[in-house]
């Protein structure tokens, strides 16, 4: 039986959890350890840490963070962001990650996928694909958070990644990410129906119902969620006095992206379960 996974995604820059706010850049949301512990206790099925790397210092603090959370969080952890070589991957796995996500390095050098799969095991290697829809309906793969053009067709690249031995695909709709407008179901199915490895959908969740629709109307195997959880988490953590001033102002001003209706892992799983979608309870 299939049990779609609810994965909590943390974008991490140095010592902070951040979130890209449409047209505003990055906003600091809080402390990664607190967020990770919160989601583990809340019943998330897996955690995904994406490193917004700016410097070597920040990379080392990520490795520390992985080790710290791996000591007390006993669910799978996937780490991605700026991983370029087999050595980078090895460091992250040795720090305690269960899986790694690679994007730029893979698309620039596809043999990295097969080498990594061969050395660390296929199931350890997740290839992240960032898709932007073109005017003619085709999806093209981008890197660097949707900023850099590669010219690769998403479906074709996904099939190649499958053949190279990747264990999973993390598929992000760059168009939908952070907008709260719902998932691009056409994109998800275009990939999920063509590959025989699991596909994790990401980008667009604005309310619980978007996730239900994703599970009932597409072949996604898992979903990675950020905004929809984080905007609730910061409220909960702020009530325990740990949120920074900047966030309290942000919350008070009501300026969080208005199309996202925050929810908790429990509420989401409860709703999915009620709709007959099997999830781990």
């Amino acid at each position: 039986m299939k049990f779609p996974r609810i994965i909590a995604r943390l974008d991490i820059k140095g010592p902070n959890v951040v979130k890209g706010i449409h047209l505003e850049g990055l906003r600091v949301l809080g402390n990664p350890e607190e967020f990770a512990t919160h989601y583990y206790q809340a019943g998330a099925d897996e955690l995904l840490y994406m490193d917004v790397v700016a410097s070597l210092y920040e990379r080392n603090s990520l490795l520390d963070f992985i080790s710290k959370t791996a000591e007390k969080i006993f669910i799978p952890i996937t780490v991605g962001g700026g991983l370029r070589t087999l050595e980078d991957i090895s460091k992250v796995l040795r720090a305690g990650a269960d899986k790694v996500a690679i994007n730029t390095a893979a698309i620039r050098n596809p043999s990295l996928v097969s080498e990594a799969a061969s050395r660390f095991g296929s199931s350890t290697i997740v290839v992240a694909i960032e898709a932007i829809r073109q005017q003619d309906g085709q999806y093209l793969a981008f890197v660097d958070n949707g900023r850099e053009y590669t010219g690769r067709d998403v479906i074709e690249w996904a099939c190649e990644v499958n053949a190279l031995g990747a264990g999973e695909i993390l598929l992000t709709s760059v168009d939908r990410e952070g907008t709260g407008q719902g998932f691009d179901l056409e994109l998800v199915d275009a990939v999920a129906k063509k590959v025989d490895i699991p596909v994790i959908a990401h980008g667009g969740a604005g309310k619980m119902d978007d996730v239900a629709k994703l599970m009932t109307e597409s072949s996604a195997d898992a979903v990675a969620l950020a905004s929809i959880f984080h905007y609730d988490t910061i409220t909960q953590l702020s009530s325990s006095g740990t949120t920074s001033e900047g966030n309290r102002d942000f919350l008070k001003s009501g300026r969080r992206f208005s199309t996202v209706v925050p929810t908790t892992v429990a509420a989401l799983k409860g709703m999915l379960s009620q709709q007959g979608i099997n999830v781990r309870m």
């Binding site: 039986m1 299939k2 049990f3 779609p4 996974r5 583990y40 099925d45 791996a70 000591e71 007390k72 006993f74 669910i75 799978p76 796995l93 040795r94 720090a95 305690g96 990650a97 269960d98 095991g121 296929s122 199931s123 350890t124 264990g167 999973e168 025989d196 490895i197 699991p198 596909v199 195997d221 898992a222 781990r280 309870m281």
Partner: protein, 211 residues
């Protein structure tokens, strides 16, 4: 006196998580490939993520298959996790035909491909069902969720010992077993949250002779 657990290091898999969980439970953990060190333990864990053929090759090369056999003959507990469980059987068809440790009779086969409702590998939480008595699942409920990550599963030839079942890609298969002091789980208890930790706690109690 602390209960000593050795995790067999034969170069495959993320041993870190298993070691973390085992320490958390209360074991004094050693990660080793040295027969003398392994021989001094109260309990063993055979972990594994990777290919069967490669794994059995490495175990035999380091003579760890002999260490495992001696350990079991001395009546101390052994727990196989994921590939570790699969290695205990007679043979596997992964990338050719390979002979396993032959601690249990049966073989390892691949999930059917391209079946509706089942991508391969299975990478998800799934339900573990069981009835009857088991030391490993003591105090736990049938239907509990554990985390799975695998493409192959075991087909035991003998059903005379405790077996737990799970269902995936239309197949109901053995996902955990207990035969005397030989224990094995297809899922990853070290990655299955608090429920996984309680299974490891049961293993700890078994190692201490409390079960």
């Amino acid at each position: 006196m602390k209960t000593k657990l050795s995790i067999l290091d034969y170069g495959l898999g993320n041993i870190f998580s298993v070691a973390q969980a085992a320490s958390r439970i209360g074991f004094e953990v050693t990660v080793s490939e040295k027969p003398a060190e392994l021989g001094r333990s109260d309990a063993l864990i055979l972990p594994g993520v990777g290919a069967f053929g490669d794994a059995i090759g490495r175990l035999k090369e380091k003579e760890l298959d002999l260490v495992i056999n001696d350990f079991i003959s001395s009546n101390r507990p052994l727990l196989g996790i994921c590939l570790g469980m699969q290695l205990m059987f007679d043979k596997s068809s992964e990338f050719g035909c390979h002979t396993g440790l032959r601690l249990l009779s049966g073989e390892i086969v691949h999930f059917p491909r391209n079946v509706e409702g089942g991508k391969v590998p299975q990478i998800q939480w799934n339900k573990v069902q069981f009835d009857g008595q088991s030391r490993l699942f003591s105090g736990m409920e049938s239907g509990c969720f554990m985390y799975f990550l695998h493409s192959f599963y075991a087909l035991p030839a003998d059903n005379g010992y405790f077996q737990a079942r799970s269902e995936y890609a239309g197949i109901e298969y053995c996902c955990a077993l207990e035969k005397g002091n030989v224990f094995a789980v297809q899922f990853h208890p070290e990655r299955s949250g608090e429920v996984g930790l309680s299974l490891l706690e049961n293993y700890y109690k078994i190692a201490r002779g409390e079960k």
